[in-house]
Symmetry: D2
């Protein structure tokens, strides 16, 4: 088994996660003279440079702050919320169902805040491509800035466009992801861009949209294995002899619809 | 945007998914003279060769069977169940939380039936590595055969070994996944093999194991961001004007514990 | 505090619950020479007579069978299922929301198998009245027979009638319960029979019916505090150090709608 | 069918529910010269007297406030929260499982804020008895005041006592309800006071208490049909074409344990 000789000394330009506690964790790009201010004191970027991942620095008030490599969940914090986001419990299931692998080419619309775009970019890797569309120019611009910070500019192509009337050529798409208010109007596009045998994954917040989308997929024809799902996530508070689910939970985010393209007769 | 020129004409040796309906879908490797028998009639492999994905053949009884590219969910059907499996709702969340990307090196124990092993192999891609351990020799052998069919032999290294007493050198591990009865006994190993800042994801079926594992992680030290989760998945029956969740659901599979390694003082 | 001097010696004519295990429990009326046959052996009614509640008899195969007083959950077993039933988790919440007390007068339609009718009869007591309606003559007859066995004939009045076109005079109704396919067509009746300030509780299986009913209540006017709920029940398997929810659960039964009548201007 | 001739003209001394909207509803006893202040303006009790239920008055700022008969859910608002309360979804299921009817005699400990005490008093009616115990003298006193306002003084007997060491004579108890931290220490008492064949219903917030209680019931012997449950309640936001569950929900309250006493050999 191979031995890793990479060194992980943190330097200027690196994007790092700074973890004080569950409510105080941040993702920043290190710049000379930079300052991260928190209600537990501030941290000079210069103090972070030279550290290794997993080590801590202390804030001006002496509170420990761990410096961590930014993994997927951290990276989401770089995105500026311009719309309702899709939560990790749903993102993960959508991506798993899609069957994407490193190198996959996928279409996504609308990108919104970009939680799904960023997640897809992470999983398809540098050989993959995410073609992201949104009708809102500003959202596209804001998302592009964040993705560039992460070095995802080569694997994500964002465009201001309406997926329902998409005219560009996109052959060889391994999965289509939709998070738009009227997915039933985009079914022709989905069918056109998807490679035969590959899936579309659609996210909608209301039950009415579930019904309308599923009925439209059936009516359109050329889709099999149509399913609609809902996921509930509960977190637990663990303490010795007194373990229980947390009192408050998110009771609803959205529904996930899955369908797979086949060749129409 | 690039144009895909791959052709997808199916040939002998290909692993394909054959879909008759939700209850009758199969994953097979095509061999000359091969036969797939179903209660809706049989299909000759020879009839599938030459087709493209998304097209259908007919069984001996005239029933349509769609030929699909095997995506992740299909591939799981290749695995022979030697133990309780982890379900896709949990697999997906575990993988998402782990933050793995194409090229990641991960450790997994015990591999059991291999639902997680196969999923990890799919997501880390050909540049990644899955080091899988299980104490059961037979399970390892059965799993290895299935992974070889999928061409995953280069990215998965399976070994009969007890993760709780693992002596081999495994530097540079980006995530550790555990599905063993006593994860609290493997925390030293987890801590040793994980790169600082990276996460461990532990799956356990009972609440008692959740409590014992979380308390052991806290006691061990060197772990932050410790969480315990549970996911519930509901599927919906959609019909016009009569949409509702399905009557029966899986009410419990297991709990997911997350923790991130930091450097101990 | 008072002393109870009732004796509970079981005699012919008594309705008793016979409990062998969770899957083998029965409710029977004791008759001379009667036999209860089970796959664990048979029990002669004559052997039960003379026992006290909580004691056991043995079946012909020597298996213990406890003789219990029939409480509400037992009594439901007397009902012959002629339609989909409402489950205890929903029955209980509907009854609680309704605010009924001993002596309440309530209307119920359609009665169907009678799980709700019997439950209401139990809670309103001998001074209360349940006016039950159903369009199906056979269902009414079958339910009436079972309720008579329980001695509920004086507190339950069943009638073959369509609640949507109910013409009879029913003043002073403290709560209305509906389990019909189109509750939106019965809102005029609900409003007419309910005393001002009192609630209607409506049970429907699909989300579409929830929406249509709630919108109809709002449109009708004269209703406040309109809510729609769903309940999920999980049972736990408890064993030392290995406690967890049961694997299978009922993922859906129906939705409960609540609304309270006020005086229209 | 009988005709109701009761008149419902509201007068001084009546306890009424005042409903402005879902967040502004109150339960008050009307006194001459009384004032109900709200952030939507104040209401003089004198203006409510002479109204009938279901009618509205206007606040000093012209906002409608409906005057409603106080049903069970309203009455709970009279209780001053001295402890964690049991929620209606759990109260209702506990009461349903218990099988109590008008006239039942029940034991409850600890009474705490009294949500269950009040609910039991409502369901057992004037012929029933609720024997309520709590170790906290102040809680008992505060609860007693509220129950007296509702006219429940004859049907509820509250006592400062520790159920685990209860010495008084309580024959003929139809159901026992426990909401104490260590129900396993009260199992002897439960067994002693319950009539054979009747149930105990125990409410606990943590999974550990579920396990410990169920194991103690099994170990004690003399209990059958032991079950542990959990209920989840979701409320729906209904609007035309956009119906969905509410975003936030209560993810956990407590677990409900059920067991039925039989005669030990």
């Amino acid at each position: 088994m191979m031995t890793d000789t990479r060194t992980d000394i943190i330097t200027y330009g690196d994007v790092v996660s700074v973890y004080i506690d569950e409510k105080r964790n941040f993702v920043i790009r290190l710049v000379k003279g930079g300052i991260l201010g928190t209600d537990k004191g501030f941290i000079k970027h210069d103090h972070i440079v030279g550290k290794s991942y997993g080590e801590f620095v202390r804030t001006s008030r002496g509170v420990k702050a761990y410096i961590l490599p930014p993994i997927l969940l951290d990276k989401l914090k770089l995105l500026k919320r311009t719309t309702q986001v899709i939560y990790p419990k749903d993102l993960s299931f959508m991506i798993y169902l899609s069957g994407i692998t490193p190198g996959s080419h996928v279409v996504e619309a609308g990108v919104g805040t970009g939680f799904l775009t960023l997640s897809l970019a992470s999983f398809v890797g540098p050989q993959g491509r995410v073609y992201g569309f949104d009708v809102n120019k500003r959202r596209i611009r804001i998302l592009k800035e964040a993705l560039d910070v992460l070095g995802y500019e080569d694997r994500v192509e964002l465009r201001v466009a309406d997926i329902r009337r998409l005219q560009i050529d996109l052959p060889g798409i391994d999965a289509v992801f939709l998070d738009i208010p009227d997915p039933w109007d985009a079914i022709d596009t989905i069918y056109r861009v998807l490679k035969p045998g590959f899936p579309a994954i659609i996210y909608v917040p209301t039950v009415n949209q579930v019904e309308k989308t599923v009925l439209a997929l059936r009516e359109h024809g050329g889709f099999i294995s149509i399913h609609a799902y809902e996921l509930l996530l509960r977190e637990y508070d663990v303490s010795k002899g007194a373990t229980r689910p947390q009192t408050l939970m998110i009771g609803h985010t959205g529904y996930i619809i899955y369908a797979r393209k086949v060749v129409c007769e």
